[in-house]
């Protein structure tokens, strides 16, 4: 019973972090039709930048901001150099190009920071007692913070001037251009925002299990899964899907080893694609 409770909490917390990774991915996909294979690697890079800043200044919150900004700039540069020339080509070429980028980022991280695991110290000390089990506060704080950031993104998209630009571009890019919205700039901006989300989630995830240069692929895959399960390009759907999948994985890891629990999310993905390819958490299209 205790275990189920703890795993529920674990699942919720992991789900919120995953939701943050996935929301960046789904934003980029929904607006630009780009499947960003390097998303997890941008997250990993953000986590490393964050770890370095924490190492120098000791300030976790500063690290969060710095990592987000650095990776946002990097994302904008990536979009301009590699993705902008591919606009108008088969969307599959963007998978290939971002896959190439992910290889480069991964090896760069290995070269810069080495193969060992880096830990980011918990920003919030202390634990609370759940029945007779200890649960650290920072995990709860992380989940809340992730929720706040995603909420901020949603508010920005809904009410902000540039958010409205972005949504207009999603709906009809030709019309948006005709109304005077600088579409190429919107694309670059969206990619930068998505990258910043990835970086921030990397820093948030840092205290959980440490940062390694191979974690990117794992998160890319998991983010893909929840984005498809939640309905491609649908922000609310991918958040629900993240929590759903993470909860299932947490419960599965009571029975089998965590390495095998991953299969649960694979199975959820396959079943979703077979029976409800539009996504689990979206209304049935007419």
């Amino acid at each position: 019973m205790d275990q189920i409770l703890v795993q529920t909490l674990h699942g919720l917390v992991n789900g919120m972090v995953l939701a943050m990774v996935a929301s960046g991915l789904t934003l980029i996909f929904g607006i630009m039709d780009i499947v960003n294979f390097a998303h997890g690697d941008l997250m990993m890079l953000g986590a490393f930048v964050g770890a370095s800043v924490v190492g120098v200044t000791g300030n976790y919150w500063l690290a969060l901001v710095v990592a987000a900004i650095v990776i946002a700039v990097l994302g904008a540069l990536l979009q301009i150099t590699t993705l902008r020339p591919l606009i108008g080509r088969d969307p599959l070429t963007t998978i290939l190009a971002t896959f190439g980028v992910s290889l480069v980022i991964q090896k760069y991280a290995l070269w810069q920071w080495g193969p060992s695991v880096r830990r980011i110290n918990e920003p919030v000390p202390g634990e609370f007692t759940l029945f007779h089990l200890q649960y650290p506060w920072y995990r709860v704080a992380t989940a809340v913070l992730a929720g706040l950031i995603i909420g901020g993104l949603w508010l920005f998209l809904k009410y902000g001037k540039y958010g409205i630009w972005i949504r207009a571009t999603t709906q009809d890019r030709v019309m948006a251009q005709a109304m005077g919205i600088p579409v190429p700039l919107v694309y670059t901006g969206v990619f930068a925002i998505g990258s910043a989300m990835a970086a921030a989630s990397g820093v948030l995830f840092g205290p959980f299990a440490g940062v390694t240069q191979t974690m990117g692929f794992d998160f890319t895959l998991r983010a893909f899964i929840v984005v498809v399960v939640g309905g491609m390009g649908n922000l609310g759907g991918s958040i629900l899907a993240s929590i759903f999948v993470s909860l299932l994985e947490s419960y599965a890891s009571i029975v089998v080893s965590p390495a095998q629990a991953v299969i649960v999310s694979f199975v959820v993905l396959v079943l979703t694609m077979l029976f409800r390819p539009t996504g689990l958490f979206v209304p049935t299209p007419k």
Binding site: L92, A97, V101, L103, Q106, F224, V228, M273, L274
Partner: protein, 321 residues
């Protein structure tokens, strides 16, 4: 495209083909041992890339999961060589193909219902399922350490049996690869292959004409999986081991790189891509060790942007003549 495109004469093609084959036959006799082995490896990886070209180049489906078929080919061969005494080459091939074929049936049945990026992601996910199973099922697959075994002898039952030398093994691989190439070439030029290409060009129209598109796709994935399994068996025979690393995504990614670099839809392009990639890796890793992927990844991205047809893409018409 005009209905009656005059076929360019294929004489030039066959002359070029003959020259390359002769060079490949002579290669192990003149090359030093290291490059001998390298040439054999290019053939094996090229075969894997060519199998994926059936999907990427001819049917228009990008598979990010070819490592599953390749790896199961390896483990199938390992199963045959470890359980049956004396180890038999034919049985290794048979087991490897059965294992890869079974995986291909499974993947084909589910993944072909999806298109474009969804197909790519689902093949990736399926290959990861196989990877996790192989990695964690230590009692059977040896887990992280994989399985090692001894090389079988080249035998024709009852008549002849010799031990493989690097040179004869190269010839054996070359023979298998050549046969596979000619077979796949014949398949892609058959009416069946034409339907695959028409799916690539315009799927709704192909369906409208009355072809059962899903069935064609399933067969294409299975064919591709079988040839990928075959290359897995060859690789296992060459290196005398099977390891979970070869079921991991990295191999699938490399296969896609080979195709893009060499030229999709040409069948020989993937071989050229494999050779180009492996030579670059060899050259770069001399002084960059494992960081060779940084310049290589950059070259790859540049090629996608500026040379989307790949190295041999300009020969596409001629190679399919």
């Amino acid at each position: 495209m005009p209905a009656a495109r005059p076929r360019p004469p294929a004489v030039g093609y066959w002359i070029g083909f003959g020259v390359v084959v002769v060079l490949l036959v002579i290669a192990p006799l003149v090359l030093p041992p290291f490059w001998q082995r390298f040439a054999t490896e290019i053939l094996v990886w090229g075969l894997l890339a060519m199998s994926s070209d059936i999907l990427i180049g001819y049917t228009g489906m990008v598979s990010f999961g070819h490592s599953a078929f390749f790896g199961l080919g390896m483990y199938g061969a390992a199963a045959a060589l470890l359980t049956v005494k004396p180890p038999s080459l034919g049985l290794a091939l048979f087991y490897g193909l059965v294992a890869a074929g079974a995986a291909a049936v499974f993947v084909a049945y589910f993944a072909t219902r999806l298109r474009d990026i969804y197909f790519a992601i689902s093949t990736l996910v399926f290959s990861q399922i196989f990877y996790v199973i192989i990695f964690t099922w230590t009692e059977v697959t040896g887990g992280e350490n994989g399985l090692t075994f001894s090389q079988p002898r080249l035998t024709i039952p009852g008549i002849w049996s010799v031990r493989f030398t690097p040179v004869t093994f190269h010839w054996f691989v070359l023979a298998v690869v050549l046969l596979s190439y000619l077979l796949v070439r014949r398949i892609t030029q058959s009416p069946f292959g034409m339907v695959l290409q028409s799916i690539r060009e315009n799927e709704p129209r192909t369906r409208a004409i009355g072809y059962h598109v899903e069935r064609y796709k399933i067969v294409a994935v299975m064919l591709s999986g079988l040839f990928a399994g075959l290359s897995g068996v060859l690789y296992a025979l060459q290196n005398k081991f099977a390891a979970p690393d070869f079921v991991f995504f990295v191999v699938s990614g490399e296969v896609v790189i080979f195709n893009v670099m060499g030229g999709m839809g040409t069948l020989v392009g993937p071989f050229a891509g494999a050779a180009f990639f492996l030579l670059l890796r060899e050259g770069l890793s001399r002084f960059l060790t494992e960081y060779y992927l940084i310049p290589l990844g950059i070259i790859f991205v540049i090629m996608i942007i500026f040379l989307p047809q790949g190295l041999l893409g300009f020969l596409r018409r001629r190679l399919n003549a």
